[in-house]
Amino acid sequence: MELLEFARGPALQSAMVIFVAGVLWRIIGILALPFISIPSRARKGVLPEGEVKGWFEGIWRRMWPHKSFIRQALFSTINGHVYHIGLFVVVFLFAPHIAFIKDLTGLSWASLPSNLVNAVGVVTAASLIAALIHRLTNPVQRLISTFNDYFSWFVTLAPVLTGLLAVSHLGARYETLLAIHLLSIALLLIWFPFGKLMHAFLFVVSRGATGARMKHRGAQI
Amino acid sequence: MSKRVVVDPITRIEGHLRIEADTNEKGAITSAFSSGTMVRGIELILKGRDPRDAWGFAQRICGVCTLVHGIASVRAVENALGYKIPPNAQLIRNLMIGAQYVHDHVMHFYHLHALDWVDVVSALSADPKATSALQQSISGHAKSSPGYFKDVQTKVKKFVEAGQLGIFAQGFWGHKEYKLPPEANLMALAHYLEALEWQRNVVQIHTIFGGKNPHPNFIVGGVPSPISTDPTATTGGSAATAVNIVNLQEVRNIIKRMRKFVDDVYVPDTLAIASFYKDWFKRGEGLGNFMCYGDFPMDGTGDPAKWMIPSGVILNRDISKIHPLDINDPEQIQEFVSHSWYNCSKGKKTGLHPYDGETTFNYDGPKPPFDQLDVDKGYSWLKAPRWRGKPMEVGPLARVLMLYGKGHEPTVELAGYALKKLDVPITALFSTLGRTAARTLETKIIGDQMDGWLDTLLANIKAGTVQVHDDSKWDPSTWPSVAKGVGFTEAPRGALAHWVVIKDGLIDNYQAVVPSTWNAGPRDHNNLPGAYEAALEDHHTLHNPKQPLEIQRTIHSFDPCIACAVHVNDPNGKELVKIKVQ
């Protein structure tokens, strides 16, 4: 139980503190850089709000590859969607997680049946493992991957796996598993601001900025 | 030549109590000192916690009273937050408190107090037939055959003959002060065992509403026992919660059984036993000052007119005049530490109201192991609470006197019947045995109310009102940044109140002034004794200082609950003073 207390207490608290501070540090560190804009005349018909629209179109459009790329991007896209949606379901639609968020923020919403979430968790874990295998076997990904990529993968998979073990009581006593699960989340939170997981926030800007730029030119987003 | 008699541990009580008494050459007690010897610091532990959790901690002040501190705690928080709890919750709480009264008093009488009056060894020589006759003469209790008493006698006999006396070992059996005939002893012994069986059933009321006993669950804002609305509840389906039609019927049955035992066994036994000890109606009076906070509200604690037990103070035995009481008035209720193992920054002679209370450990007693306390210094972990500077007795006697004084009909009637049956005047109540008798009377008075509460609850449910908890103020963000409240109740042992100060959603200060602190507290700055001490100083002569049965009787008549009585508070959050052990 002491491990669980450590996990629920100091570990999670310091992780949250690091997470919040780190995320803000990184986001503000980026957003406070000068905004370099080239004030060219927009393509005719693209109103000022068109660029804003482009921003959102960019965010939305890149959820799925363009037709020309589907064949090459199929695995990455489907697998990516599987674990992203899986993570979303597991993180945000599992009752204990909602309770955690409610405790932290006061916000709550309906949950999914635990059994369903568990099943999604298994699929998510499998999908993440597939992603790793792909990363290791695909020459391109292997070449461009760094510690950041592998470690981010690890800290993402770890809470899923430990969470699955915890709910199914496999391997150790529940409180130990829960503690390990919480510690793995703490690790995730600590790593989050410093690794590539920040794309969870930054995609809004990167997709949006390109969307706006392309919209401005009347080009394909 | 004065001789110090030390009784430690006082057994058959809750907690750790030590009595030291100075006796003269005739064995008469000249002065007595009551010392609580255990402290846990629960109020320190409560500081900085969620006030909604407080009941759980406070409740563990005592496992015998088990729910009273939980009740006082949730009421204190509700008072601070301006709660008005749903009527059903009030009724369920009443039922639980009522069950606690009946359970606690009966157990006290048979398991904690009876062996002061009942000689187990004498019971072995009783005639079962005569015992049966005795039983049949005092009530219509079913278990009254000679065969039944013969069985009990055999059981105890074999037990004794087997050579291991267990809880009866070293008893003062045969002491001159045991005056019951063998048959009465045997009857009481049989009831000792019956009461054990019976009480298991009574506590099931707590189990149904609170999930378990000891330490049933409570909740700020009502009770945590939603009333099942699922039709499958009656078949025990998985959707059933504990409070359903089947279990409410069981509550009804339990009330019936418990009242029957009180009527057929407890009340007749008390009167029968008391009739052999009438000299104990003349000693052990003590202070003559009595105090009640009041309880059993029908709609929250707001309207005193609706409390079944009134609040007030009786001074110098004058039950014709009941003084009004305001427990929030700093002039009225104060705690003193002159003879306690605490320090006070305003000087050890200053008394403080619980809201302003300030206490730090300051043990100046002898280093253990020791034989005797130094009663000129501190000698107890209890403090000495006073009402307008006067020591007070609280408990069943105070309540019965208050009800009697206010002309509460069932009380006047029942008390009249008992006094007449015993052929003693009303003043006989101011005594050791009077205290015990008052407890019996009160058990019946409260037990008789319970059917009515259940009826109302069932009527509410039938009318579609099933709410038992108000969660409108559950979220701490709805609370004011600072809130103060007091929650009080009449615990079986007497007036109990918890004070709470909530700051930014957390407990800033928590205080409990409990019945046994009033009764068992040490002397104050004016050297005025507490209720135990005063009672022991009233006409007690020890026949055998090594067998201080007389002390046991009077102390037990108060039904001590020492774990409750000892608490420590430190509202300023100061470092605890390092204690120097001599």
Binding site: - | S145, P146, G147, Y148, K150, D151, E197, N201, G236, S238
Partner: protein, 143 residues
């Protein structure tokens, strides 16, 4: 018995239990080895238990033992398979067992009990002889 049809609707747990009982009964038939299943230790719902009880049915023998509350014993429709239901003094079921045996242990009279009842019988016999008024509730003592 046409249990097979019912099995298809039953909770898998009951099915497993029936299989277990079959194995135990086989052991008893072949090796004379006794066995028992404590149903309390299994996560059975009340319905499951009822279902098992119905499936096993009632046989020719049943008995009630009155000690520390009632104990109901019956042989199921399958000889050698007994159901033991212990209740406490409050008439609550506190244990359900399926015993696979020739005769449940609790029904047998123990030698030492025979001895002591013999002694008591002799005492009573003597008491009867001694008794003068013939008006007594001494039979109570014999409980």
């Amino acid at each position: 018995m046409n249990c097979t049809k019912e099995f298809t609707h039953n909770a898998p747990f009951v099915h497993v239990l029936m299989h277990e009982i079959t194995v135990l009964l086989g052991d008893l038939a072949l090796n004379g080895k006794e066995g028992a299943i404590d149903l309390r230790g299994l996560p059975l719902l009340d319905q499951d238990k009822k279902q098992l009880e119905d499936l096993l049915g009632r046989g020719e023998v049943s008995a009630i033992v009155n000690i520390m509350g009632e104990t109901q014993i019956w042989e199921t429709a399958y000889s050698g398979v007994w159901w033991l239901r212990h209740k406490d003094t409050g008439d609550k079921v506190i244990s359900d067992q399926v015993a696979v045996t020739i005769i449940p242990e609790i029904l047998k009279t123990h030698k030492s009990d025979v001895k002591s009842s013999l002694e008591r019988l002799r005492t009573v016999f003597k008491t009867e002889e001694k008794r003068e008024d013939g008006n007594s509730h001494d039979h109570e003592q014999l409980r």
